[in-house]
Amino acid sequence: MPLLEIRGLIKRFIGVTAVDRVDLAVERGELVSLIGPNGSGKTTLFNCVTGYLATDGGRVLFGGRDVTNAPSHSVARLGIARTFQQVSVFPRLSALDNLLVFLQQHQEESFLARLLRSRRLRRLETEAVERARRLLDLVGLGDRATAAAGSLSFGQRKLLAFAAALMPDPELLLLDEPAAAVNPTMINQMKQHILALHRQGKTVLLVEHNMDVVMDISQRIVVLDHGEKIAEGPPDVIRRDARVVEAYFGR
């Protein structure tokens, strides 16, 4: 049974069908990329799957369980993490706190404990902070841990968002253009980290325009155009597919 299964997903806006009966299955542990021209429906698909847009038809199954139109916070708590194309951080919180927010899904501490700042609470907090610092170092933001996220550059916020998605140790990662606006050297590191996640058994579905990234790390590529799936297969096959080349690669 695939970990993520999208069956016949439909999403319409006024005058245009952004997602037109798309079927997409991702097996547990797979690393799949979703590519396609701007406006082909990739981000809309993500938004439908993760509870930001209501679907007009079709179903979404996670581990066999129907999660169609579940609200975003429920989807997150099921173990699905996502990043946003337009970078999303909490601008007034520090980089560190941005990451700590993503550990919400662990149990809430009791009210009294919070008031009295119990020892257990402090220990949990310390562990969380350590994990957050490791992730910040991973994306090269270790020295900006206390800086307000709003003061970081666009690319740095991108990296911060990537680290934040990893914080709750999700089963399925939906990454929307993680490499856009990121320095090529850091992209290499990001590629390595995604591959490491893959080796750990995590499942990754990636939207990307950076062909170096897509071709290098994907096991399978799915191509969308005008809301429809037009091709699917391993990188070698997709690279040579005429329709894909024409719609997407240009020269």
Binding site: I35, Q156, A180, T185, D212, Y248, R251
Partner: protein
């Protein structure tokens, strides 16, 4: 540091930042008329901040910024625009609820001459993909089309220098080609171009010269080819 009299834009020891954070820590560069120059560097190095400082959005604390021989540091953006510096910010920056044609009209807002109508028509002719969608709302265009629209908007003020922040951001490979071709065409028509790009290899391959910034300071400088071949640059900034 090329500080000759032929520089169209010149920065000397510019220090700038936001509130308590200092981003540019003494940057100098010079751009000659007719060039395509790109600025590359790690995230947070100050590339976008440099463009914003030249344009007057971010205050310059010290240093000189001269355009066509005149000091423009800390002048308000409308002033900088009127002197002939165009700016296309990072990401989407147009009026999504207005049509393509209306967006172009907004681009020419500061102009009062009779040529405006003709220039808008010429703009649509030059960018056929915009002409095909002239009455569509800008927000319904794809990312790449919006990027082209934004460049067209900036060009309506007939800038001598066009500053573009991350022209290829979020665009699919085909659109990236089209956008860079457009920049080359704009340059051939006589506009000097200063761009910030993370797609460094692509940018350096079309640029006459490049500057590499690191933590707010100059690190490397050279022709596009020189930087592409420089092993240090390749390792740290081009991904090897």
């Amino acid at each position: 540091m090329a500080a000759d009299g032929g520089a169209l834009l010149e920065l000397r020891g510019v220090v700038a930042g936001y509130d308590e954070v200092e981003v540019l820590r003494g940057v100098s560069l010079a751009i000659r008329t007719g060039e395509i120059v790109c600025i590359i560097g790690a995230n947070g190095a100050g590339k976008s901040t440099l463009l914003r400082t030249v344009f007057g959005i971010v205050p310059a604390r010290t240093g000189a910024i001269r355009f066509a021989g005149e000091e423009i540091a800390n002048r308000p953006p409308t002033d900088v625009l009127k002197r002939g510096v165009g700016y296309v910010p990072q990401g989407r920056c147009n009026f999504p609820a207005m049509s393509v044609e209306e967006n172009l009209e907004m681009g020419a807002y500061l102009r009062r001459d009779a040529q405006v109508r003709r220039d808008i028509a010429a703009s649509l002719e030059r960018f056929p993909m915009l002409a095909a969608k002239r009455r569509d709302l800008a927000g319904t265009l794809s990312g790449g089309q919006q990027q082209i629209l934004e460049m067209a908007i900036a060009l309506l003020l007939r800038p001598r220098l066009l500053m573009v922040d991350e022209p290829s951001l979020g665009l699919d490979p085909r659109m990236v080609e089209i956008v860079f071709d457009t920049l080359l065409a704009i340059n051939r028509d006589g506009t000097t171009i200063l761009m910030v790009e993370q797609n460094a290899k692509k940018a350096l391959s079309v640029s006459h010269r490049g500057f590499v910034l690191e933590l707010g300071r100059n690190r490397f400088e050279g022709t596009g080819r020189e930087l592409l071949d420089n092993p240090d640059v390749r390792h740290h900034y081009l991904g090897g």
